[in-house]
């Protein structure tokens, strides 16, 4: 006679809290593969956050610039606007101005901005750096100091700068840290171990294992996520039992499919819709393979992915 099998897993993803007060969010906690509620505890619902920038978002598509035109010159106003209007699980402030290849703003100035934002909102805050490891080390040290007590997530620490970022972020100023690796399963594990070895436990770590847009090496991201989750759950590998965050919007909004102007490729149709669609597809596939939190840019994407998650978890 037919009986539905239930798969038991020996491991469980650690729970990590970001933010303070009633809007504190809990990431992770699942003991089964993503959305496999038929096997057991799916933990905390995957969290959906929205990206904002500390300077006017020059590179964003016109539709989004228009949407934020009254607030995008001031990250505090922008964060408040997003919080009130879209109520995301968290807000991700990207410190674009700090980029040494761009405006190269000082860590002190950036820290002031972050402090102003975090004090103006109740929503948990994630701060993203520049991708320049040296600069990010200095940047996050100042940001962590300025935001002590707000329990923000610093994104991210890499092999080159984790000693500064994780030590300052977590040990000195009690914030959380994202451990970043770029779609490399062994490095994903190694960076967690290195941070653990500083004396920081899994409850303070979130992993960013890398991200991609559909069609751009997406399969590497999916297989890395699959393997991390399987090792964490079926092999009970403690070094991988941290929640995963995926900055979807950082990747999908600069590929051609999302930004090609309509006049250049009229057959492709509406630019904004394409961008949303690319963002939704990348997000839902990555959630299906094990991400616990995603960063999105377009409010429509947030709405659709939120309803997708709610439908799947019932």
């Amino acid at each position: 006679m037919f009986k539905k099998p239930i798969q038991r897993y020996s491991g469980k993803i650690c729970e990590v809290e970001v933010g303070t007060g009633e809007k504190t969010m809990k990431l992770g906690g699942e003991a089964v593969l993503p959305f496999y509620s038929f096997d057991g505890d799916t933990g905390n619902k995957p969290k959906i956050g929205m990206e904002i920038s500390d300077v006017y978002p020059e590179g964003w598509i016109d539709a989004l610039k228009e949407l934020y035109k009254d607030v995008s010159d001031d990250p505090v106003k922008w964060a408040q606007f997003v919080e009130e209007k879209y109520n995301p699980d968290f807000i991700c402030l990207k410190l674009v101005s700090a980029d040494p290849n761009g405006m190269d703003a000082s860590p002190e100035d950036c820290a002031k901005k972050v402090k102003a934002v975090v004090e103006a909102i109740k929503t948990p805050l994630i701060v993203a750096g520049t991708g320049n490891h040296e600069k990010d080390g200095k940047l996050f040290e100042k940001v962590a100091q300025a935001t002590e007590g707000h329990n923000i997530l610093l994104m991210s620490a890499v092999e080159d700068n984790y000693k500064t970022v994780a030590a300052a972020g977590v040990l000195a100023y009690n914030n959380k840290v994202a451990a970043e690796s770029s779609v490399d399963i062994n490095l994903a594990k190694q960076i967690n171990i290195l941070i653990n070895q500083l004396g920081i436990d899994n409850q303070n770590i979130v992993a960013n294992i890398g991200c991609a847009a559909g069609g751009y090496g997406y399969e590497y991201v999916i297989s890395t996520l699959d393997r991390v989750k399987l090792a964490a759950l079926t092999q009970n590998d403690k070094t991988l039992q941290v929640p995963i965050i995926s900055p979807i919007s950082f990747e999908t909004w600069h590929v051609k499919e999302s930004i090609e102007p309509e006049e250049n490729s009229p057959q492709w149709g509406n630019q904004e819709d394409r961008g949303i669609s690319m963002e939704i597809a990348a997000a839902t596939g990555i959630l299906t393979s094990g991400s616990d939190a995603i960063i999105l840019r377009h409010p429509k994407s947030v709405e659709v992915v939120r309803s997708f998650v709610n439908e799947l978890l019932g």
């Binding site: 399963i185 062994n186 490095l187 594990k189 190694q190 171990i193 290195l194 070895q197 393997r227 090792a231 092999q235 590998d237 070094t239 991988l240």
Partner: protein, 261 residues
């Protein structure tokens, strides 16, 4: 592929410290060894209380309860020739972190331990031996099948039996070594699990050589399909060998610092 199962051997009454601790019901030396082994990566602890023909039924429950209370219900292998003592231990055993292992049954006098394993839903180390030393692989496999059939008749899962091919000492039985490894391969190719008491292989060899023989034999045995062993996890070379085998076999994900975990 499952991770190699390490069963720590160091709570053994052959050790004067442990023997004394058992006699005096003094948990401290026992806990010390338990902790050392767990810290070194043991998944199970073997608890050998000796023949204990007189007071085994009292000692085994005492030691099982004590260790499990102290170490979050760590799973144990109950090791004595006194079947009643094992049964008494099984009665108080907490299986929250894994079934108990009965150490051990064979195809001779101790085949009754399979019945005990079936009755208590325990795992059981099944020695592929009857009397004395198993002659060759034909004999080894015939004992293996005998024990397997017995277990399956009693409704046991084949994977709850850990077949021990019986490791032979290299010093004196060098010519048998390849056949033992081949025996492990034959058993594991049937989809069965295996176990062995490793240290026998290097018995009598100089102290500085023993860890090298142990570790090398271990790597070769794992390649032949060995899935668990009763070993000293505090032996660094051996521990590192097993960890590396797990990584090469894909049972554990590689990271540069994997040996430090």
């Amino acid at each position: 592929m499952e991770k190699f199962l390490i069963i720590g051997e160091r709570i053994h009454c052959i050790s004067p410290t442990i023997k004394k601790a058992i006699e005096e019901r003094d948990t401290a030396p026992i806990f010390k060894r338990a902790k050392e082994q767990l810290d070194a990566g043991a998944a199970y602890l073997d608890v050998n209380i000796g023949p204990a023909s007189k007071d085994g039924e009292e000692i085994m429950p005492w030691i099982v309860k004590a260790i499990q209370n102290e170490f979050d219900n760590v799973p144990l292998a109950l090791d004595t020739t006194n079947t009643k003592a094992i049964e008494a231990g099984l009665k108080v055993y907490n299986r929250g972190n894994g079934k108990p292992i009965i150490n051990s049954a064979d195809a001779g006098d101790r085949i009754g331990n399979i019945d005990l394993a079936a009755e208590y839903d325990a795992m059981c180390i099944a020695l592929c031996a009857k009397e004395g030393i198993t002659k060759d692989n034909d004999e080894r496999i015939s004992y293996c099948t005998e024990l397997l059939e017995k277990g399956m008749e009693l409704g046991m899962e084949p994977t709850d039996l850990l077949f021990d091919p019986l490791i032979l000492v290299i010093k004196g039985m060098q010519e048998k070594q390849k056949e033992v490894l081949e025996g492990i391969r034959l058993i594991s190719e049937m989809g069965l699990k295996t176990c062995c008491g490793l240290s026998n292989v290097s018995n009598g060899a100089p102290k500085e050589v023993r860890p090298i023989i142990d570790a090398t034999f271990m790597a070769m045995a794992i390649q032949s399909g060995l899935t668990s062993a009763i070993v000293n996890p505090c032996d660094k070379r051996l521990r590192e060998t097993i960890k590396t085998c797990d990584v090469i076999n894909g049972a554990v994900l590689y990271a540069d610092s994997y040996l430090q975990l």
